[in-house]
Symmetry: C2
Subunit: 253 residues, 2 copies
């Protein structure tokens, strides 16, 4: 397919690379950030623009991959009648696109994407469309880059899924951050924890996390917990979270 | 080396398999749990006993891999003069072994180990010894099963490391558990989050978690946060943790 990408951030960059690798043509990148756009355009051997009126009108699909708070700005005065237009935002309703075209939808990648990625990870795609044409084109595009993980999901399911994604990615990453900070202050090497971190994530392929719960909290091992809280006395932020999550583990049935 | 394994739980089972795979001989398993011990003895083509006085006195190393609260019981009346004896417990001082032998130490695997594991993960080993003989034997044993990740660490460092391990494994796993529960109640498929969970863990090989932090909290995206808290109104346990960790992310400098 011929694709115009609107945006030049992490999601635009990684999805664009996946599209190229799948044999699609990226005919243009539009972004307010002219230098980021021209860098991606160079990488993909295509053209870029930062003028909305110069957006190419002959593509099959237009993918709007910009920050939530920039979407309104992009949509203002944008008219692409007859074209399929989708945004990539978890928390934005698909209807915001109805002033642009009758064939609109969502193309939400449930993954943490960063421009710097060398190896592109699996990216489950949750798509939605206003009509059969939008659904068909977006599903086809999704299957071309994510063979096994393509799910049709409406606004409601997508927004709910985003909450879970925040928990298992953003909140989990914050625990990693606090542990790294603790290790640095205590003269320990955080990198030595990586095999444990990876195993804790990977075993979920085989085991429910509920069944895999181990450690002093679930064992009600008060002696170890008190020893740990004593060791955390100079780390009040982490100590506070350690207490709350320990209590929550013990309350879980 | 000739090894006697004391204990028949997760750590005993996985370390024993690693020792066998590295070409060591497991000459005996001692455990109060006779059926678990005889199962492992069958797997490893060796003998088992649940009588302490029948513990083989001719091995090179004795590894005590039992729950923290069972160690005292195992040590009572145990005498293995001239032998190297180590326990695998993060939070137990090595000196508890000094009544057993003069060559004692610790052999702590920094990993979440489960008997059911088919593929044995990387297991960094933190060892400590009371003298050169204990250190040399335990270091050699560690290198034979964990080529690159062997670290000498005293009681103090090991106990501190255990705190970090609890944070990145037990506390993180609890977030997975709450997310799984939320997904089930909301009719979502938790398995669809696995690529995101794995990427969040794996990217730590290249990136500090602090630099990788994304999401509504760090963006101070109050609109999305409020939307999420509203969606969590029937999940008070997760909502409480979502709020606390969101505040903690926003306080992190």
């Amino acid at each position: 397919m011929d694709i115009v990408i609107i945006g030049s951030g992490n999601v635009a960059a990684v999805l664009g690379r996946k599209f190229k690798a799948a044999g699609h043509q990226i005919v243009q990148i539009y972004s307010r950030n002219a230098s980021a756009a021209s860098e991606l355009a160079y990488e993909w051997d295509t053209e870029s623009t930062n003028y909305k009126i110069l957006i190419n009108k002959n593509a099959d699909v237009y993918l709007i991959a910009v920050n939530d708070d920039a979407i309104d700005d992009v949509l203002n005065e944008l008219k692409l009648p007859g074209k399929v237009v989708a945004h990539t935002a978890a928390s934005v309703l698909k209807e915001v696109l109805k002033t642009v075209t009758e064939h609109y939808g969502v193309f939400y990648p449930l993954q943490s994407l960063r421009k710097e990625m060398v190896n592109l990870p699996d990216v489950p795609i949750f798509f939605d469309g206003s009509d059969e044409k939008a659904k068909h084109i977006l599903a086809t595009l999704a299957h071309s880059i994510s063979a096994e993980k393509v799910v049709e999901a409406g606004d409601d399911a997508r927004v709910k899924l985003h909450v879970a994604a925040v928990v298992v990615s953003n909140l989990v990453n914050h625990l990693y951050t606090l542990a790294e900070d603790y290790c640095r202050k205590e003269g320990l090497d955080f990198k030595q924890l990586l095999p444990l971190i990876e195993e804790t994530a990977f075993r979920l392929r085989e085991t429910s996390p509920k069944l895999a719960q181990t450690g002093p909290a679930v064992r009600h091992d008060a002696e170890t917990i008190h020893k740990h809280l004593d060791l955390l006395k100079n780390h009040p932020q982490l100590k506070n979270i350690y207490v709350l999550l320990t209590e929550s583990i013990q309350q879980t049935k």
